[in-house]
Every structure is written in C-alpha cells, then in structure tokens.
Symmetry: C2
Subunit: 212 residues, 2 copies
Amino acid sequence: MRVSELVERSGVPLATIKFYLREGVLMPGEATSATQSRYGEQHVQRLALIKALAGAGLPIHKIRAIVRLVDEPGDDLYATLGRAVAMLPPYPDGERDADGDYPRARRVLERLGQVYDPDFPAVAQLERALKAVEEVGIPMTDQRVDAYGRHIMGIARMELDLMPADSAAAVEYAVLGTAVYEPVIAAMRRVAYQDIASRIFLRDMPETRKDI
Amino acid sequence: MRVSELVERSGVPLATIKFYLREGVLMPGEATSATQSRYGEQHVQRLALIKALAGAGLPIHKIRAIVRLVDEPGDDLYATLGRAVAMLPPYPDGERDADGDYPRARRVLERLGQVYDPDFPAVAQLERALKAVEEVGIPMTDQRVDAYGRHIMGIARMELDLMPADSAAAVEYAVLGTAVYEPVIAAMRRVAYQDIASRIFLRDMPETRKDI
C-alpha cells in the first residue's frame, strides 16, 4: 500500500509517520521509486504498537528500546520480557533502605513466596505504593497481602496462559497487555465497588439501573 | 499544638497550610489570640487526607468537594460513597454510543451480572480502557471477563469488608483506599508476572534472587 493508505489504515498522520521513520521505530517501506515506498501489514501492526505505547505516555527512546526487543527478542525470552515491561511507566526513583533493599515490598513478596528481582522497576514501584498506603493509614495488613496476592496471581496466571508462543509476539503481548489492561482492572475495581456497595446499602437495584 | 508543630507533624509547609485554610479544605484552628490559633489531631488527620489527594493529582476544587462529603456524609451513604470516589481521576470524557450507552462496558458488566450506574465515571473509564485493548489486538474475551471479574470482585469484597462503620471514616476510606491501592495492585501484577514467567522459563530462581 502507499503511504496515504497507511495513514488511513493506522489513523496516524503523515507527519507523525515520517517522524517514526526518521526515529527508526517504524521500519522503512520497500522503495518503488526515488520518492515513493510501498508498505505492508507489518507497518500497520507496528504503528498500532507505537500508537499504544505513545498513548501510554512513553517517550520516543523507550518506544525505540521496546521495538528493538520485539524485533530481536534474543534467546533469553525471560530476560527480554522483563526488560520490555520495565520500559513502561511509572519510572520510580529508588527508595531503597540503607541495605539497598525495599523493606515493604520484600515483606509482601516473601509472605507470598514470590520470586522477584529487586532491580526490576516494579519492585521499587510496589515499595512506593506501599509507603503511600501506610501514610494514609490504610496499611497493607497480612489479611490484605493474602487476598491481593491470591487474586492478582490468578489474574497474572490467566494473562500469561494466553501469551503467544512466538517470541516477538510474546514481547509485544507482555508490553501491550501490561499497558492496556492496567486501566481495565482499575476501572473494573471501581465499578465492582458500586455493585458490592449496592448490595450492602440497598435492597433493590439503584434507580438508574432500571433503564439500562 | 501551634501551627509550627502542625507543620512538623504533617510534613506540609506553612505556606501550603495557609493556602488550605484560605481554600476552606482545612478547618480553622481555635483562635488563642489575634494572631495565633491552636490545632489538634483532626488537623493532622485532615492534612494527611489532603496530602494524599493532592499527591494523586486532584485539583483543589475536587479536594474541597471530597472534604465536604467527609464532613457531611448525609443519610444516603451509598450515594455519598459513589460521589466521593467519582471525584478521583481519571476524568474520562464520555464515549457513549448513539443510544447514550457504553457498549463494551455494558457487555462486560452484564456478563458478570453486576449492578452499575452508567453515569458513574468508572463506567466511562472502563469503556475507554476496553476500546484501547481492542485497538491493540488483545481483546477482552469472555474467558478474560470471567477471570478478571472473579478476581476483581474478590478484591473489592475484601476491601469493602474492611470499611469502617462510621460514615465520615467510610467516605475517607473509600476515597483513599481507591486512590492508594490502585498503584499497589498494578505493581503487584507486574511483579507477579516475573514470578510466573520465571516458573515458565527457568528451572531455578534468577541469579539476583540469591542475595536477597
């Protein structure tokens, strides 16, 4: 397809496509003349990936790093997946204690018996989040650790069960799945509150439910 | 306590405390002279609430609205809780279809049999999140709906079980619990991936685990 069709198919403006080509995050098309190139499905797919990552707030250098991992996942898929997901925001600045450890995250993860690498940004992210819950006086009790742990492991296991076998597709799946399902989970939790609260506080469905 | 001690206890600078007093989000202290006031534990606690909400990105007028709901929860606690949680970001701009409905959110919530009010912002938030997962090609299949639904309901039920009985405390709990536990859940999910992926890809613990 011509670049004009690629613009239409992807919903990405021409100037942005040119920027992505210059930045090396979109692979070049096949040159058909001195001024024209032909593009294929791989370009549509790559633009969908770039668009999703840009939409999740990633700067261009992080998008480039992820695209490289998709294109060259290497032999150690475990390490590649970890590196790819670590490119996603937030980017916590370390809050390790004097021993270089994350004491709150460590307590939770050890209680759950989870394998973790303290250099993985999500551990610093967890430490910071746990500090915030302490500060507002709704601390992470053991009861909470066990309930969150059980349910979150259930979610993560289901998600990884659905991961494609192909390495490049797996890297894309891990990154995109993390970026786009976090907001789904957050929204579902808020809606779930409404359902449960309505059963606690009300005998009947709320008024507005009737016309759904 | 004097305002200087309140600064120390709360970790909020004097100029910011004065701003919160002017904006009516922090209740005034008890005047002890023309220029001095005395503050108590309620001020320390209120500043912790304001600090957490400001840290979650809420503008001052949303913080004021939440503080009013905490101070005057009214008789209909169900409605008050919904209004309070609805003050939290993100603030999705409606993406209703021609019938004024959210078709993706509706499909998911009807499958789960959940009560919901389509005017509750979390429903618009869910619709937008579900549109994003479609666009990147990792759609919300029925299998996913069921697994997410089961686990997220489990989390929300546990969280609401722990809600204080006192109305003002319940409003504070619902708002803060939603704001501060979303990052905990997101971080735990990312760390859970690492645990599960390590069991899929590696026989042993990762190298870095040894020195934890």
